[in-house]
């Protein structure tokens, strides 16, 4: 026992030594730089001309609340997040339901459903700008043309340049990209349920729909939570997708894009930092409880 104890002790010191470079890197580049960003956000570094920034308390945050562009971007983001999460959840779940029992060609369907994850949104943006083009009637291309062909011409709209629907239009490419991911997560969830459970319910005379509702779906609640968290934090950071399709257009402004403009184009570092901290807080609210939940569950394993 004593030797084992000793061995563990030496090993632990050695182990720590090997992870130390990463610990230092994370401490500086993640936590240190977050602290630094927070610090900048509390100063008056509002242009590159400010050489000796002074602390101004929460002034930048208070000004943001009154900034119409910021509140516009925030409400856009919330609209986007709601529809994106719902849409991706539903479409990914339907895909998983269709594949879960096994079907000839499953591998092919699964691989193709997932390919959008492998492509950058800057590249796909070129195509989606076409698909979501606002031209209608005889000039129509993209989705408007498809709607015409399907006899749904009355649904034609301006997509991402429309004033009210722009954010909803933006969710289409996002749902398109992420559904395959959700499919994979749910498929893993379904396949993790022991077959006996299903068989037992069947023997007891439960109908297929009842088996799903009362036996299988409750087993998927951890997966469901995971999916929600993942989609939620991705959504709050959405950037490439917006830039790739509509650039810096006002109607599709979200926090990450606004932060970029403020920081990059007009070098208002203090305000950019404040927006960044707000995005971070929104992500943290979602992610920290999740990390704790995962951590707790691992202990039982």
């Amino acid at each position: 026992m004593a030797t084992l104890q000793k061995k563990r002790l030496t090993s632990s010191v050695g182990g720590f030594f090997f992870v130390l470079p990463s610990i230092i890197a994370i401490a500086i580049f993640v936590y240190g730089m977050i602290a630094w960003t927070l610090n900048i956000s509390l100063t008056n570094r509002n242009s590159s001309a400010v050489k000796a920034p002074k602390h101004v308390g929460l002034k930048n945050y208070i000004e943001l609340m009154a900034d119409a562009r910021f509140t516009h971007a925030l409400s856009n983001l919330l609209k986007f997040t709601t529809v994106f999460i719902l849409g991706t959840l539903i479409s990914g779940f339907i895909m998983a339901l269709l594949l879960e029992k096994g079907i000839k060609g499953e591998g092919l369907f699964r691989s193709i459903y997932l390919y959008p994850m492998a492509i950058s949104f800057i590249a796909m943006g070129t195509v989606w700008r076409w698909l979501l083009n606002s031209s209608q009637g005889a000039d129509a291309g993209g989705l408007n043309l498809i709607l015409q062909k399907l006899g749904l011409g009355f649904l034609q709209n301006n997509w991402y340049i429309s004033e009210k629907g722009s954010m909803f239009a933006m969710t289409l490419p996002a749902i398109w990209q992420m559904s395959g991911y959700v499919l994979a997560l749910f498929l893993a969830g379904f396949r993790g349920i022991p077959d006996d459970l299903r068989e037992a319910a069947r023997v007891d005379g439960a109908s297929e729909s009842k088996i799903y509702r009362y036996v299988l779906f409750p087993q998927l609640s951890p997966t469901f939570l995971t999916v929600l968290i993942i989609l939620g934090h991705i959504s709050m950071k959405v950037f490439d997708l917006i830039v790739g399709i509509s650039g810096k257009s006002y109607v599709t402004d979200v926090l990450a894009v606004y932060m970029w403009q403020v920081t990059f184009d007009i070098t208002n570092y203090a305000k950019g930092a404040a927006i960044a901290i707000i995005i971070l807080l929104m992500v943290a609210i979602v992610v920290i409880p999740y990390l704790r939940y995962v951590n707790k569950n691992e202990e039982y394993r």
């Binding site: 580049f29 997932l114 796909m124 993209g142 398109w176």
Partner: protein, 297 residues
């Protein structure tokens, strides 16, 4: 953990019981399922279909014609797109390969220690790492730009190597930690009893078993660095001398260089080919990385 799950998805795909004769309702549902699956397939394929066919029509493509197959095949836009994108793509390849390899090595060492040689506080360290995986990079971007300026990295492609290596630590560590957790502890114990040191165990036992883990991490890092736009645009300052695939593409698409849609389409497809190829040939490993990113898989 995560590898189990992928195996569960990939290997144990339930085989449909084709030998048994299906009843009428079962037949109906089967047809319905295929019908739905093909509709979804068409929707998922649509964007890449549009991209491919319009890259084969020559420079003059126009919107109402977007879905039609080319009347005459032309690869005229390909050299034109390459003229703009060639250099940025080679530059991307250069930094992505380096950053992926460094990330994989770091991830492997961290994952090894955090799964097999835990030290006091190692759980805490791991959780603190994990949070780094989720942060919005906006929250570190301004200091990072200042840091690069301070150490004189600005204007060098190594700003991107640094960013992808450092911010890749969490996910790479996570993937390797999960991967190594599946290696039985008895194996390590036995080697230790024989007097093997931590480094020795790593070299002689862990590394030879790590190939699939390395493939997962390498293609994960490759894909995310190749597709990254956020770091690229902030850290290179949009300078054409440091343009990478995504920033160059964004520049083209913005109409700054060319307004011909045919070339845009071709350029977009061209920039996607490396990651698409990786996905086509190593899709299973890609899926594994993807599911690791969800922590629980």
């Amino acid at each position: 953990m995560s590898s189990d799950i992928v195996d569960r998805i990939v290997k144990t795909s339930r085989k449909p019981k084709s030998s048994r004769k299906l009843t009428g309702t079962q037949q109906f549902w089967l047809v319905f399922r295929y019908f739905a699956l093909f509709i979804i397939l068409a929707m998922v394929i649509l964007p890449i279909y549009v991209m491919v066919i319009n890259s084969l029509k020559g420079p003059a493509v126009y919107l109402p014609d977007a879905f039609n197959l080319p009347k005459k095949l032309s690869v005229e836009t390909w050299p034109l797109a390459w003229a703009v994108l060639g250099k940025p793509m080679m530059r991307t390849l250069f930094f992505v390969v380096q950053s992926s390899i460094i990330s994989a090595i770091i991830g492997s060492i961290n994952g090894y220690v955090l799964s097999k040689w835990r030290f006091r506080g190692s759980r805490m360290v791991f959780t603190l790492f994990l949070f780094g995986m989720f942060i919005p990079y906006q929250a570190i971007m301004i200091p990072l730009v200042q840091f690069n300026r301070m150490v004189g990295l600005t204007g060098s492609i190594y700003v991107l190597v640094l960013a992808h290596v450092v911010y890749g630590i969490p996910i790479c560590t996570l993937i390797f930690r999960n991967y190594y957790a599946a290696i039985p502890n008895e194996l390590i114990e036995a080697a230790r009893v024989d007097g093997a040191s931590m480094v020795r165990v790593y070299r002689s036992i862990i590394v030879p078993l790590s190939i699939p883990g390395f493939v997962v991490v390498l293609i994960w890092q490759f894909t995310s660095a190749w597709n990254d736009f956020l770091f690229a645009i902030f850290l290179t300052g949009g300078s054409p001398k440091l343009a990478v695939a995504t920033t160059a593409l964004n520049f083209i698409a913005g109409g700054a260089v060319i307004v011909k849609y045919g070339i845009n389409m071709t350029a977009s497809l061209m920039a996607s080919i490396p990651t698409l190829l990786v996905y086509m040939f190593l899709g299973r490993y890609f899926l594994r990385g993807l599911l690791s990113g969800s922590l629980k898989g």
